[in-house]
């Protein structure tokens, strides 16, 4: 997949911008706070219909303007596609080839994106939320049905939490039937979510293990495990998953009534990473944690290729300088000639891979961009 053009209107600090990209690797150069990350975010939004930095779409609209628009021309296996995302106070609209898509799940996945930013280096060490988000975003863009079940799950969760809260505050008669109904709904959606997470993680781990071994020069064996709040495992069928979730909810019923929130389910699950059998969240070095994050991102690229027959767009936001020479080389060799890549950096010093010398270079300054010819 390749992005040929990008057009921004009143997006973040850009009032209007038109860019064309002719190179496989594009380096975006500029001082801090000039708009490099905003540009990367815009490309990300073109694929995911949401920002990787904020859940509030309003922040993407330039100050005091009624709407923000991102347009991108790309070509994939099936031919050219024009993507458009518009944010206004009334919400967002997404279009592919000028046809509006009513469901985001019909839009996400047209342009697959892998982003690697400094936050991703905390994937191993950071909060469980970071890892769940990683799982949901990456899985969502290659599996529309997952995205649907996940959004259903969260809608049910919101209703159920409100119900539990009202039960606790005794604003409702203690009505087991209603809570049972909502638990049933949550279990049905939750089992679908779990089933797809397990399938995805199996694949991801298969790809990540050899990559990790390669980066660590054969010294490290990476394993990924899923920590569930219910007694579930990756061999279970959908009915077995439902049964296990029902048991988990039965076990926390008292606690839920006391606390007034849902105490089990995939929204509380987490991932753990093991290197040579040791959990690296607690026992790993910073280097091991970074290698793990890098292996997972590279595995994702391969997995997307396997699932869609096409390489995603890779966004490297300020992350290249965070990796040592060895990891840098590994990353750049992995993408060479296959993956269209956008790299932001404040300086090209210390980045002297041959790939970067053939790259298109763009300078960002106060919301304007010029291409170096």
């Amino acid at each position: 997949m390749q992005i040929h053009s990008l057009e921004l209107k009143d997006y973040r600090n850009y009032d209007s911008l038109e860019l064309t990209f002719d190179h496989q690797v594009n380096v975006i150069l500029g001082e801090n706070a000039q708009g490099k990350t905003n540009l990367m975010e815009a490309i990300y939004v073109l694929g995911m219909a949401r920002s990787h930095r904020t859940p509030r779409d309003k922040e993407l609209i330039r100050w005091d303007q009624p709407f923000a628009r991102i347009r991108g021309g790309l070509s994939n296996r099936r031919g050219p596609a024009d993507m458009e995302v518009v944010f206004s106070r009334r919400g967002k609209k997404v279009k592919v080839n000028a046809i509006e898509k009513k469901r985001l799940s019909e839009f996400v996945g047209t342009c697959t994106i892998v982003m690697f930013a400094p936050e991703d280096l905390t994937l191993v060490k950071g909060s469980p939320q970071v890892r769940r988000r990683f799982l949901d975003m990456e899985l969502g863009q290659i599996n529309n049905v997952y995205l649907y079940h996940l959004s259903q799950y969260y809608k049910i969760l919101k209703q159920r939490n409100q119900w539990l809260k009202e039960l606790r505050e005794r604003r409702r008669d203690s009505d087991d039937a209603m809570l049972d109904v909502m638990t049933g709904q949550l279990v049905d959606a939750g089992a679908e979510v779990l089933l797809r997470r397990f399938q995805f993680l199996d694949k991801l781990a298969q790809w990540a293990a050899p990559i990790h071994q390669d980066i660590s020069r054969g010294r490290e064996e990476l394993e990924v495990s899923y920590d569930a709040s219910a007694e579930v495992d990756r061999t279970m069928t959908i009915d077995e998953l439902k049964h296990a979730l029902h048991e988990a909810f039965a076990g926390v019923r008292e606690q839920e009534m006391r606390r007034g929130t849902t105490q089990a389910g995939p929204h509380r699950d987490d991932l753990s990473f093991f290197v040579n059998g040791r959990n690296i969240q607690t026992y790993g070095s910073q280097g091991q944690q970074r290698t793990t994050a890098l292996s997972l991102k590279l595995a994702e690229i391969e997995l997307i290729y396997e699932k869609t027959g096409e390489y995603p767009i890779l966004l490297l936001d300020d992350v290249l300088s965070e990796l040592d020479d060895h990891r840098q080389t590994h990353l750049l060799n992995a993408i060479k000639g296959r993956v269209q890549t956008f790299v932001t950096t404040t300086s090209v010093d210390g980045l002297d891979h041959e790939l970067l010398s053939e790259a298109g270079t763009y300078y960002v300054e106060e919301g304007t961009i010029r291409e170096r010819s």
Binding site: Q159, D173, D175, A177
Partner: protein, 198 residues
């Protein structure tokens, strides 16, 4: 610019209607200014009369100008069947079909704690009372196929099943006359779930 008081007041009234913002409200208000006085009076009377002359049926809670409503009052209808819907609009949709001859029950909403709506806040207790008093054999639950509609449907079925009354749910899946290839994955998977044997 400031609008003269009567225009501003009319615009405010229009803006209380769904889907109307300030621009549409201004357009409508100025259009009213150009209308013949008789037409404006007819319009105003029509507005007042929907409110004054229409009430809700005391049995099924469908909108009506007589109580009980014409459907509940119709002796030719099948009294052993009640179709449960969320809105009066749904009754009208069902009636257009002209195939269903049973009675209705309008809940006026679905259970949605986030919106402050519990089972007692819609006409659900009324439905249960009706089931005790009337000779009903089947309840067709036709609430919307979204999370709130499904929760309401399942709740009703839990409460009613033990009484021996048959509870059914409208099928969901492929639209008639549609092409299979244009159906989205989710609709298709629902259709697979609800497949039937020939």
């Amino acid at each position: 610019m400031q609008y003269p008081q009567p225009i501003a007041k009319l615009m405010d009234s229009f803006m209380r209607l769904p889907g109307i913002g300030p621009k549409t409200a201004a357009r409508l208000a100025f259009h009213v200014l150009d209308m013949k006085e008789d037409d404006v009076l007819d319009f105003a009377r029509a507005l007042v009369s929907v409110k004054r002359e229409l009430t809700y049926c005391s049995v099924c809670h469908h909108i009506t100008d007589t109580d009980p409503c014409r459907i509940c009052d119709d002796s030719s209808r099948d009294r052993s069947m009640i179709c449960v819907v969320e809105q009066s609009k749904d009754v009208i949709a069902m009636e257009k079909m002209k195939e269903y001859t049973g009675l209705y029950h309008v809940l006026h909403g679905a259970v949605s704690p986030v919106d402050g709506i519990g089972p007692e806040d819609i006409y659900l207790p009324d439905l249960l009372k009706r089931l005790q008093d009337e000779e009903v054999q089947e309840l067709i639950v036709a609430t919307d196929p979204n999370i709130e509609g499904e929760a309401t449907a399942m709740y009703i079925s839990r409460l009613v099943k033990p009484t021996g009354i048959r509870v059914t749910r409208l099928a969901h899946g492929l639209p008639v006359g549609g092409d299979l290839e244009y159906a989205d994955e989710v609709t298709l998977s629902k259709a697979i779930e609800g497949r039937r044997e020939f």
